[in-house]
């Protein structure tokens, strides 16, 4: 999780909304990528969960876009995806072939925790009152997202005690 070239102290409300939309877009795309990776590696349960996450991120992104359009109409975007790195998107390293739904959910939970930490860390630098209140709102929403994933985790049957690593072969002479 990192940013490049964002001056939080002078962030305007429009730029803050646009950044928040980009954060959701990045997360949505990453979950879609993960779902496609799971399809490729015949891991359907994790794929289904990652698609569920992608839909959620898309929903949040659309809500934010509607607010942005209402307030700033089609004023050109001044921030770009090049400024954000894996804020709410799970790290690429979090995916594994044949990962269990539990592990997929743990990866999603970790990224919601990461996103919460991002908004918490940015808050002290913000000067604009409206931007601050937007970031507070987004920070709190990350807790709601964490609860959503926890609820999915709670629906899973009890853990079998087996780990994904149990299915990895040792190197064999060839």
């Amino acid at each position: 999780m990192a940013t490049r070239g964002i001056d939080f102290a002078s962030l305007s409300l429009m730029d803050a909304l646009d950044l928040a939309i980009l954060v959701e877009e990045e997360a949505q795309e990453r979950y879609e990528e993960f779902a496609a990776q799971m399809d490729q590696h015949r891991t359907p349960d994790a794929a289904r969960f990652f698609r569920f996450m992608a839909e959620n991120e898309s929903k949040h992104g659309l809500e934010l876009s509607a607010r942005r359009a209402q307030r700033f109409s089609d004023a050109p975007r001044l921030v770009s995806r090049a400024m954000i790195f894996d804020i709410e998107a799970p790290d690429y390293d979090a995916a594994r072939a044949f990962m269990s739904p539990r592990r997929a959910m743990a990866a999603a939970l970790a990224s919601e925790v990461k996103a919460h930490a991002f908004f918490v860390a940015a808050l002290p630098a913000l000067k604009d009152a409206e931007v601050r209140s937007l970031f507070e709102e987004l920070r709190d929403e990350e807790i709601e997202h964490q609860d959503l994933v926890k609820a999915e985790l709670a629906k899973l049957p009890l853990d079998s005690g087996l780990s994904d690593e149990d299915f990895v072969d040792e190197p064999a002479p060839q």
Binding site: A2, Q40, S80, F85, Y92, D93, R96, A97
Partner: protein, 293 residues
């Protein structure tokens, strides 16, 4: 997007529709993201970029970009990249591949590219293993490493890619890793901007055949930015000193950037052509060369 390259490009403009078939979790996913971002910052349109690779998991990378790509032959990305650059010097030429591709079968090509100083950026995704062929020893594997081809542990010392290229006189040498995404994108961008041969070694974990210590967590534990050490990238000897710690420490950033970049091979060729063209016959009299008077 305009064809002049004057408009702004976004990282997604360099992402192709092809879905990577790397193992989920592979470090190369982050590397290609770093490349998209670096290319967006450079702002050359995709059709002005040629991206050449050899063979290996990492060598699939050109296909995941919208640049012209050539997933060539194992170990041969550099001669092909040089041919492309010579034929069309205006292209931005990138070469990429694995540690096996670059330092085993293709190792002999690096020296010649460096001494020619062609304006090519070479990105090696160093995972200390042959990934594509299922986990055999690579030239950068640690001594003692147990793999399917070294059941009792490797008896060989690893090649040090950083010292290798520094010793041959590369003008730009850097190291990056998915442990620092911002740094990786910035380093690739800087390498591309360097006017001459530029080398970036990227420690990119193989989650399927790599060792635990070489995964993101292990790499983070040994990583340190060169900037935080106060390293002066104009100091080649200091760079060589730091590069000796390859394998024990993960130094991130620019080891060496020649403060006075010498002319590239392309510059010298142009100069030579200008010089010789003064005495050259006009096209319509070219046959005179072969006709005895």
């Amino acid at each position: 997007m305009s064809a002049t390259g004057t408009c702004e490009f976004q990282p997604k403009d360099y992402k192709s529709d092809l879905k990577p078939i790397w193992c989920p979790g592979c470090g190369d996913f982050s590397v290609v993201q770093g490349i998209y971002r670096a290319l967006a910052a450079i702002g050359r349109p995709p059709h002005e970029i040629a991206f050449v690779s050899g063979i290996g998991c990492s060598s699939r990378i050109p296909g995941y970009t919208t640049a012209y790509g050539f997933n060539s032959v194992h170990g041969r990305s550099l001669p092909i990249a040089q041919g492309i650059k010579l034929a069309n010097p205006d292209l931005l030429v990138l070469a990429a591949g694995g540690d096996g591709d670059g330092f085993s079968i293709g190792g002999g090509h690096i020296a010649h590219l460096i001494r020619r100083n062609m304006d090519i950026t070479y990105i090696v995704m160093d995972n200390q293993i042959y990934g594509l062929t299922k986990g055999q020893l690579s030239p950068t594997s640690q001594k003692g490493r147990v793999t399917c081809t070294s059941r009792y542990g490797s008896l060989e010392n690893p090649v040090n890619p950083l010292l290798y290229v520094l010793a041959y006189g590369a003008g730009f040498v850097a190291q990056a890793s998915p442990t620092d995404l911002v740094g990786m994108a910035a380093t690739i961008e800087e390498a591309i901007r360097y006017p001459g041969f530029a080398f970036v070694n990227i420690q990119s974990p193989c989650v399927t055949y790599g060792e635990e210590a070489q995964q993101i967590k292990g790499l983070k534990a040994i990583s340190e930015t060169l900037a935080s050490l106060g390293h002066n990238p104009a100091d080649r000897l200091a760079a060589m000193d730091l590069a000796q710690h390859y394998g024990e420490k993960l130094h991130l950033g620019v080891f060496y950037r020649n403060p006075e970049p010498p002319p590239t091979y392309g510059d010298l060729v142009k100069e030579r052509q200008t010089l010789l063209s003064k005495d050259a016959l006009p096209k319509e009299r070219i046959l005179d060369l072969f006709i005895k008077k």
